[in-house]
Symmetry: C2
DNA sequence: AGACCCGGTTACACAGAGGGAACCATCATG
DNA sequence: CATGATGGTTCCCTCTGTGTAACCGGGTCT
């Protein structure tokens, strides 16, 4: 961790982003937002996430109060995950980000291709 | 990288998040949004980022069309960075996320403390 | 000549993210 | 008894992210 001292807001944002802004957290929140309730293996199949990472990420999400874990002691066991209120509130900015991502990915790809072409030309020419 | 095949939207979002959701990109965008134009070393000082990471991240941001790089061949050299239109549009969801983060960080901390206390009690008791 | 400024780049090292596979516990089925 | 399903956990290994430190290159000041 660097000093981070310069811009206090930055480090706060960084903190939360680091916690909740990783790849899987966001995708899990999005999935739970869509389907309301999902079981462990449903999430696993839906996201193509490894069992290990799903378990880890869900626990962190639960710890942070974003996700509810409901354990049904049936045989075989059944565990359901859903968003808490906090998770629901997080859904909105995440959706905004997701929407932006989906909307602008083509533009980004284009910009990237252009940049690569230009720098390639610079190298060759 | 996993299969990612299950939920196509997820993998797209993941893709952009992976690109633009790292530690520094977001903070650079926020800083540039605030100050309009910043020089290399201004960013460096403001964020407390290492020279290497700043250089790397800025190049990626430029490559993705989010940031403009203006090189003034003066002595000593002067390089100015600013947001492109795309970068400006990215600013909004990022701000939404940042705002959520700042608002809910206390709640998260609280939830976390509660969770830790509970699991500690479970372990001890 | 040597030191300094700016904006980078390169070499090296370390921590953490993340995947894969095997193991666990429990009951049902064949 | 072996197998399967569910929801995890644990071990091991790799790959990436990130930091530190040193160097570059041109010009200016001393």
């Amino acid at each position: 961790m660097p000093k981070d001292g310069q811009c206090p807001e930055c480090s706060r944002i960084n903190e939360v982003l680091h916690r909740v802004g990783d790849r899987w957290s966001v995708l899990i929140v999005i999935s739970l937002a869509q389907y309301d309730v999902l079981r462990f293996n449903e999430l696993k199949r839906h996201l193509g996430i490894s069992q290990r990472m799903l378990s880890l990420t869900l626990r962190e999400l639960e710890r942070d109060g974003l996700v509810n874990r409901t354990y049904h002691p049936t045989i075989p066991p059944k565990v359901e995950y859903s968003l808490t209120e906090l998770g629901q509130s997080f859904k909105e900015p995440v959706y905004a980000l997701g929407k932006w991502a989906l909307t602008h990915l083509p533009v980004i790809d284009e910009a990237r291709a252009e940049y690569d072409a230009a720098s390639n030309q610079a190298k060759t020419g």
